[in-house]
C-alpha cells in the first residue's frame, strides 16, 4: 500500500515547477534527438549526464525518463515522412509508415505511430509499477552466488543477442570489464592498473566512457560519412503538407487493428525490455513479426499496414518500462539508456535493489510518473501541437548540429569533474569506440561490461570466500543454478536452435 501511495506522490512531484520544466524540456530534447537521423535518445541522455551532476536526483531521473520515452517514439517521425528512421527502433515503422506517406496518408501514419507509442508506453510503465514490488521481493531471495550467476546471465544475453557477432561483442564486453578494473580494488583496497598515475587511482568514471562511446564516436562517424549521407532534400520536405486534424486516427482503423494487437505488442515489448541488451529494435521487430503472423491481412505488411505501425510502436515504447525492472531491482540495465540512468542513481548514492523501493520510493516514483505522463499526454500533445514543425527539424544544418554536440559533450565531460584528464579520456575512448563501431564491435556491450563487470567480480570473489574457494557453490545454491540454467536455455534458444520463422520482410 505504501508503495502505491508513493507512486501517487510521484505524480504530485511532477507539479513542482522545476520537475515539470525538466520533464517537458527532456521530452522536447528526446523528441528532437529521436527524430534526427543519426542522433538517438541515448546520445541525448549521454550529453545531459553532466547536467545531472548539477541538479537533484529527482529532476535528473524525471528528465531521463521523458527523454527515453520521447526518443523511442520520435524515431517514427522521420521513418514515416522521409523513410529514414530517426532511431534504429523505428526501422519496422518505416516499412509501412513511408508507404502510407507516399499515398498521402503521412499524418494518419504519424497518428497511428503516436497512438501505438502512447498505449505501449503507458501500459509498459503501468506494468513496471505493478511488478516492481514483486521484483523487489524476488530480488531479496537472491544470495551472493545467485547474484553472480544473474549478472553472468545478463552478460551472456547481452553478447548473444548480437547474433553473428558474438565473438566481437564478447571482446567489447570484456574490454568494458577490463576498463572497470582500473583503480582501487573495492574489496581489498589495492591499486590496480594505475601504471603509477594518480589520475587513475579513483578509476575511470562512467562519464568519459558514455560521452566517448556515444557522443564523440558519433561525431567521428558523421565526419567519416559526410559525403555519403547527403543533406535531406529540402524541396521534397517543403512539398509535404500536414494538417493537424489528420493526425487523429479514425476509430474504425483502431478497431481494425484491434486492442489485442496493442496489448500483445505491449507485453512483447515489455518482456524484451526486461532482457538485458535486447532493446527497442528487437522489441519492434519481434512484435511486428508476431503481428504479421497472426494478422488477418498479412499481405498489407510492408505495403502500408497500420497494424504493423501499431505493433512496432507499441512494442518499442513498452520496452522503456520493461528495461527499468532489472536496472532498478538488480542493477542490471536492459539497454544503454537505462545503463546511463543507473549511472545517475549511483552518482547520487542510490543503490539498486529492494531497499530502493522500500526506503527511497519517493525518489524513483516521480520517474515512473514521468514515463506515464510522457507516454499518455506528451506524445499525443506534442504531435498535435508541434507535428507540422517536426519535419522542419531535419532541415537543420548537420554542420551546426554536430559542432554544438561536440562542444556540449566535451565541456560536459569537464564540468562533471572539473578535470582535463576526464575530458582527454572522453576523446581517447571516443576514438576507440569509433574504430570499434567501424569494425562491428559493439560499444553498447563495452558500456554494459563496464557497468556490470565490477559487480560480477565482487559477487564472484565473495561467493568464493563464503565457500572457502569451492566453486561448487555456484552449482549447489538453488538461485545460482536457476540463473545458470536460464543462461543455458537462452544460449540454446538464441544461438544453437535454428529459427523457424522468416526473417524481416
Amino acid at each position: 500500500m505504501d508503495t502505491f501511495l508513493s507512486y501517487f506522490n510521484g505524480f504530485s512531484a511532477l507539479l513542482d515547477p522545476l520537475n515539470f520544466a525538466v520533464m517537458i524540456g527532456g521530452f522536447l530534447v528526446g523528441t528532437f534527438f529521436g527524430a534526427m537521423p543519426g542522433l538517438t535518445s541515448v546520445l541525448a541522455i549521454a550529453l545531459l549526464l553532466p547536467v545531472t551532476y548539477q541538479i537533484d536526483v529527482v529532476p535528473a531521473l524525471i528528465m531521463c525518463a521523458s527523454i527515453f520515452m520521447a526518443g523511442m517514439y520520435s524515431g517514427s517521425i522521420t521513418a514515416i515522412t522521409i523513410n529514414i528512421p530517426g532511431a534504429p527502433s523505428s526501422m519496422m515503422t518505416a516499412l509501412d509508415g513511408n508507404k502510407l506517406m507516399k499515398r498521402g496518408k503521412g499524418a494518419n501514419a504519424l497518428g497511428h505511430a503516436a497512438l501505438g507509442s502512447m498505449i505501449g508506453g503507458t501500459l509498459g510503465a503501468v506494468l513496471l509499477m505493478a511488478f516492481m514490488p514483486i521484483a523487489a521481493k524476488l530480488s531479496l531471495l537472491i544470495q551472493t552466488p545467485g547474484k553472480f550467476s544473474l549478472i553472468f546471465f545478463a552478460l551472456v544475453v547481452i553478447v548473444i543477442v548480437e547474433k553473428g557477432n558474438i565473438a566481437k561483442s564478447t571482446i567489447a564486453m570484456l574490454l568494458g570489464l577490463m576498463i572497470a578494473t582500473v583503480g582501487i580494488d573495492e574489496l581489498l583496497s589495492v591499486p590496480r592498473f594505475t601504471f603509477g598515475t594518480e589520475n587513475l587511482m579513483e578509476g575511470i568514471d562512467l562519464m568519459p566512457l558514455v560521452i566517448g562511446a556515444f557522443a564523440i564516436s558519433e561525431i567521428l562517424i558523421q565526419a567519416q560519412n559526410w559525403r555519403l549521407d547527403s543533406e535531406v532534400d529540402l524541396d521534397e520536405i517543403k512539398k509535404i503538407r500536414i494538417k493537424r486534424r489528420d493526425f487523429i486516427p479514425l476509430w474504425s482503423e483502431v478497431r481494425e487493428i484491434g486492442l489485442w494487437t496493442y496489448f500483445k505488442s505491449t507485453v512483447i515489448g515489455y518482456l524484451i525490455g526486461v532482457l538485458p541488451g535486447a532493446g527497442g529494435s528487437m522489441a519492434a521487430f519481434v512484435s511486428y513479426i508476431e503481428a504479421r503472423r497472426s494478422s488477418r491481412k498479412p499481405q498489407e505488411y510492408g505495403n502500408g499496414s497500420r497494424e504493423g505501425i501499431a505493433a512496432a510502436e507499441s512494442a518499442n515504447n513498452a520496452m522503456c518500462g520493461g528495461a527499468f525492472v532489472p536496472m532498478l531491482m538488480f542493477g542490471i540495465p536492459g539497454d544503454p539508456t537505462t545503463a546511463i540512468v543507473l549511472g545517475v542513481l549511483v552518482i547520487n548514492g542510490l543503490q539498486p535493489g529492494a531497499r530502493l523501493l522500500e526506503n527511497q520510493a519517493d525518489l524513483i516514483s516521480p520517474m515512473f510518473a514521468s514515463l506515464i505522463v510522457s507516454a499518455l499526454i506528451l506524445i499525443p500533445l506534442t504531435l498535435y501541437l508541434l507535428g507540422p514543425l517536426f519535419l522542419k527539424m531535419v532541415t537543420i544544418s548537420r554542420g551546426l548540429l554536430y559542432s554544438g554536440i561536440a562542444v556540449v559533450a566535451l565541456v560536459g565531460s569537464y564540468v562533471a569533474t572539473l578535470s582535463i584528464f576526464q575530458m582527454s579520456l572522453s576523446l581517447v575512448l571516443g576514438v576507440l569506440a569509433f574504430y570499434m563501431r567501424r569494425a562491428s564491435y559493439s560499444p553498447v556491450a563495452m558500456l554494459l561490461g563496464f557497468i556490470l563487470g565490477p559487480d560480477l567480480e565482487q559477487y564472484f570473489r565473495r561467493a568464493m570466500s563464503l565457500s572457502d574457494g569451492d566453486p561448487m557453490i555456484f552449482l549447489t545454491s538453488p538461485d545460482s543454478i536457476f540463473f545458470l540454467l536460464l543462461t543455458a536455455a537462452f544460449v540454446y534458444m538464441i544461438v544453437v536452435r535454428k529459427p523457424k520463422t522468416a526473417t524481416a520482410p
Partner: protein
C-alpha cells in the same frame, strides 16, 4: 598471400591493438599485490587474469576467421575529416584551461565549422553562429548551472 592494405585494415588492426592492450593489462595484473595473503580466486588478480585469457582466445578466433575470409569489407567514407575532428578536439582540450572557455571554445567551433563546411562562404554568418554556439553553452553551464568554467584574464 595477404595484401599489406588488407592487413592494415580495421578488421586486423583493431584485434592486434586489443592483443597488445591485453598483454600490457595481463602483465600489470601479475604485478598486483594484496597486503594480506588471499587465495587466488578470492584475490584482486583472478578476474583480470581470466578476462585476459578469454580476450586472447577470442581475439585469436577473430583474427583466424578474418584470415580465412576471402576479402575485407570496404570501409566507405572519408578518412581525413574524422582525423581533423580528433586533432581539433585534442588541441581544444589542451588549450581549454590556459585560454579559458570563451576563446578556446570559439576557436574550436570555428575549426568544426570549417571541417563540417558550415557557412564557410558567409564570413559574417560563420562568426555569428560560432559566437552563438559558444554563448549558448556558456549560459547553460556557467549561468544556469553555476559551473566555474576556465577563464582568460578573469573574462569568459
Amino acid at each position: 598471400m595477404m595484401s599489406r592494405q588488407r592487413l592494415l585494415s580495421m578488421e586486423f588492426a583493431l584485434p592486434v591493438f586489443f592483443l597488445i592492450l591485453t598483454t600490457i593489462y595481463l602483465a600489470a595484473a601479475f604485478t598486483i599485490r594484496a597486503q594480506i595473503s588471499e587465495p587466488f580466486w578470492q584475490g584482486p588478480r583472478a578476474i583480470p587474469i581470466v578476462a585476459s585469457v578469454m580476450m586472447y582466445a577470442l581475439l585469436l578466433f577473430v583474427l583466424v576467421r578474418q584470415f580465412r575470409t576471402s576479402n575485407t569489407k570496404a570501409q566507405p567514407g572519408e578518412i581525413l575529416r574524422p582525423v581533423w575532428v580528433v586533432v581539433a578536439t585534442g588541441v581544444y582540450i589542451y588549450v581549454f584551461e590556459p585560454l579559458g572557455y570563451g576563446l578556446s571554445t570559439l576557436l574550436y567551433v570555428f575549426a568544426l565549422f570549417f571541417i563540417f563546411e558550415f557557412r564557410t562562404r558567409q564570413p559574417l554568418a560563420f562568426v555569428i553562429y560560432a559566437l552563438v554556439v559558444t554563448a549558448v553553452f556558456y549560459i547553460l553551464y556557467a549561468v544556469i548551472f553555476g559551473v566555474r568554467l576556465p577563464e582568460l584574464f578573469g573574462v569568459i
